[in-house]
């Protein structure tokens, strides 16, 4: 994977350590050792275009695309590994007021999300497809957001395997040192939901 250079050696935040181990689609995170928090972290965001401009120049757009890809790759690894192996920590990846629509079931807010993930059987996810797009700032009022779309298979304990599609809106919370991404909205469906 691409190296992030000197950005990664900066700062004392826990989140940075993870990126050193990020190598590919099936990264094992067990080497993180004592780190306790689930976070999706990428380098700080580039300076936004001048405030008067709503239209990103092509240079800015390329930057947003790259940043979106970075966030997406980092996120997807952490999310599904956490879902499979550290289910109780999963809601740390969500904003307090995040919403999940799971096969048409609406789950809103952290409390409900905690309950929901607690009642869901244990899972084994395999992600085969990942795509992402930067969300236009007109839709988000300049709160940097990435649309992430995944697809693959999942086996929930006690149930047959399903193909699934999932969509996330990931939103950035920026600090001078880094960017922390959290899920604002999540939409999950089995591809064969009607026969399940």
């Amino acid at each position: 994977m691409r190296k992030h250079g000197s950005h990664w050696s900066q700062g004392d935040r826990e989140g940075y350590q993870r990126s050193n181990y990020y190598e590919g689609p099936h990264t094992s995170h067990s080497s993180r050792g004592g780190r306790t928090r689930e976070e999706v972290v990428t380098p700080p965001l580039p300076e936004h275009a001048a405030t008067g401009s709503q239209m990103a120049t092509s240079l800015d757009f390329k930057t947003y695309v790259d940043q979106a890809c970075r966030a997406a790759e980092e996120f997807v690894n952490i999310y599904y590994e956490t879902m499979d192996k550290r289910r109780r920590a999963l809601t740390r990846l969500y904003l307090d007021q995040a919403t999940l629509i799971w096969n048409g079931n609406v789950v809103s807010g952290l409390d409900a999300l905690n309950n929901f993930f607690d009642t869901l059987p244990s899972s084994e996810f395999q992600v085969n497809m990942l795509d992402c797009q930067p969300v236009h700032e007109q839709a988000t009022q300049s709160q940097t957001t990435v649309l992430i779309v995944t697809s693959g298979t999942v086996k929930f304990d006690g149930n047959k395997q399903h193909f699934f599609n999932q969509n996330f809106l990931l939103t950035a919370q920026s600090t001078p040192n880094n960017t922390v991404w959290k899920i604002a909205s999540d939409c999950f469906r089995f591809q064969d939901w009607s026969s399940s």
Binding site: M55, A56, S58, F61, K62, V65, D66, C69, A72, E73, Q97, T99, I101, W102, N103, G104, N105, V106, V107, S108, G109, A112, F116, T119, L120, P121, N128, M129, L130, D131, Q133, P134, V135, H136, Q138, A139, T140, L147, V149, S151, F156, G158, Q161, H162, F163, N165, N167, L169, A184, S185, D186, C187, R189, F190, Q191, D192, W193, S194, S195, S196
Partner: protein
């Protein structure tokens, strides 16, 4: 979306004014109409959906309900802002149950309905259970609206003496583990499906379309009466021979869901929605859809699935007694934040796919923001060769798990409306099946709407003509001109339901009215995979 005649959606004063007016309208539309929700009401109302309010909580020997999916008002917040979410059908659930006891059967008599419940009946297969009961029951009975509710199985019968006979069966039947099966009998209000029969003909048509039990052996369906997507009628001769079977299957009637068809009263409520601004530069397409009252009915007719499966229903994953193993929540139909948004989105989709399927996708230019993004993907299954039905989509498929090259990643993400529409125009010509659409509205804020459409489409020309494919398309949209939506992000995912490798035996392909003929793929094509 409106097609401004000779208008550049750029920087004229007119556009600015229009946007300001539309913003007001949009604000009114998108601001939530929160209705007070009694958390107790939300979960218990599902027991009341059969009008059983008087019996609520009384007869069942069920322990305290654990409803992880009930949304308390304190947790219902918007995605980016604190807003109350509205719930579809909440008004209906707040109606006093007594009203539901009124009404006449089609033949003019007052039916008396009873709800028959088998506790923990969720363990049992429907046919097996009904046969077992019928074998022991002294009179023949016709179970109506069989469904699973929480851990129990229920159905209705329309006769007091039959209900009595069924009650006598309780404790006299055993399951395969030699456990006694009990039967509870309660008077019920007139079930929804019966109520709908009493209303307008249009509603009756829709009911016929969506409310078929999966048992197709009942009386023949009069297909002429069905408000079906007109084009589909021409495409499949097999449909004429067994229309009911095709209909039930293509409408995804899930036997475990209670069909919740909208009452005429709710449909009347939609007529009150403001028609939106009348902009002078509306396209002919928009103009014909500006009459809301008939428009809404005709839109509903195009999306029968949404009527069937919309709304909140009792989740199955309720812990009862000592049963502790985890179950997956019931899969449900699409979710909309509110009826108003549903209308907006359905209108948008109807217009969008009308143009998308028309053969000339240039008309979609006005649907997109100048700086919109689009990308598409097909599945990547490491074990399988990709089927030829998707070969036309290989070159545009963007999968950043596979594609690491930043240049290629950039190329495959289309940016600006012009590039997007050019790219869409190069995709195969299609015919989308609106009746198969299922929509999840999964994020709404003051500035944007984010929803995913799941459905089926057919390719209508070229080598794969006749191929039926499935898709999920995610749109992020902001308010556009004249109460329309303006797409800023568009993500299309296409897959072939018939080629999901080892899972195909478990997954039931969705039959549609389209004939499906996927050509066998050659060795050469098998080697072609996304880079």
């Amino acid at each position: 979306m409106s097609l401004p005649s000779g208008h550049n959606m750029g920087h004229t004063d007119q556009v600015v004014q229009r946007r300001a007016r539309c913003w007001d309208i949009y604000q009114r539309r998108f601001s939530s109409r929160s209705e007070p929700v009694n958390p107790g009401m939300h979960s218990s109302s599902h027991q009341q959906q059969d009008g059983d309010a008087a019996m609520h909580g009384a007869h069942m020997d069920s322990p305290v309900r654990y409803t992880p999916y009930a949304i308390s008002p304190y947790n219902r917040k918007g995605s980016f802002r604190k807003q109350d979410q509205t719930h579809v059908n909440m008004e209906r659930e707040q109606k006093p149950p007594e009203r539901r006891m009124e009404g006449n059967m089609p033949d003019g008599t007052l039916g008396s309905w009873f709800k028959i419940t088998v506790p923990f009946g969720i363990k049992y297969n429907e046919k097996w259970l009904l046969n077992l009961i019928q074998n022991e029951c002294s009179v023949p009975f016709v179970p109506v609206e069989f469904h699973y509710e929480n851990m129990h199985a229920s159905f209705f019968v329309e006769n007091a003496s039959i209900a009595c006979a069924l009650k006598n069966v309780s404790g006299k039947i055993w399951d395969e583990n030699n456990e006694k099966i009990s039967i509870f009998v309660n008077p019920a209000g007139i079930p929804h499906f019966v109520q709908r029969e009493l209303k307008s003909e249009k509603v009756e048509q829709i009911k016929l379309a969506v409310n078929q039990p999966c048992d197709v052996s009942q009386e023949a369906l009069d297909i002429q009466r069905l408000p079906f997507y007109p084009d589909m009628m021409n495409h499949d001769t097999t449909m004429a021979s067994n229309p009911r079977k095709c209909m039930a299957a293509s409408l995804h009637v899930h036997e475990e869901n209670i069909p919740t068809v909208m009452s005429a009263g709710e449909m009347d409520k939609w007529k009150g929605i403001e028609p939106g601004e009348k902009c002078a530069d509306r396209s002919p397409v928009c103009t014909t859809l500006s009459d809301n009252s008939s428009n809404i009915n005709s839109i509903l007719e195009l999306f029968p699935k949404l009527l069937c499966l919309d709304g909140q229903q009792s989740p199955r994953a309720t812990l009862c007694g000592t049963e502790a193993h985890k179950r997956l929540p019931t899969c449900k139909g699409g979710f909309f934040g509110s009826e108003m948004l549903k209308n907006l989105v359905l209108q948008f989709l109807q217009q969008y796919y009308l143009i998308y399927d028309s053969g000339d996708r240039q008309g979609l230019l006005s649907a997109y923001h100048d700086e919109a993004c689009f990308s598409m993907s097909i599945p990547f299954n490491p074990e399988d060769s990709a089927p030829s039905s998707l070969c036309k989509y290989f070159k545009d498929s963007r999968n950043i798990k596979i594609t690491k090259d930043p240049y290629l990643r950039g190329e495959l993400l289309k940016h600006t409306k012009r590039d997007i529409v050019d790219s869409l125009s190069a995709l195969p010509k299609t015919q989308h099946d609106l009746s198969s659409f299922l929509v999840d509205m999964w994020c709404q804020t003051e500035w944007m709407l984010c929803f995913s459409v799941n459905g089926m489409f057919k390719e209508v020309e070229g080598q794969s003509q006749g191929s039926v494919l499935a898709f999920t398309r995610t749109f992020i949209a902001t308010p556009g001109s004249s109460s329309s939506l303006c797409i800023v992000n568009d993500k299309l995912f296409v897959w072939d339901t018939g080629h999901q490798g080892t899972q195909s035996a478990l997954f039931t392909p969705v039959p549609t009215a389209f004939s499906s003929s996927v050509p066998a793929f050659s060795q050469e094509q098998q080697k072609t995979l996304p880079s």
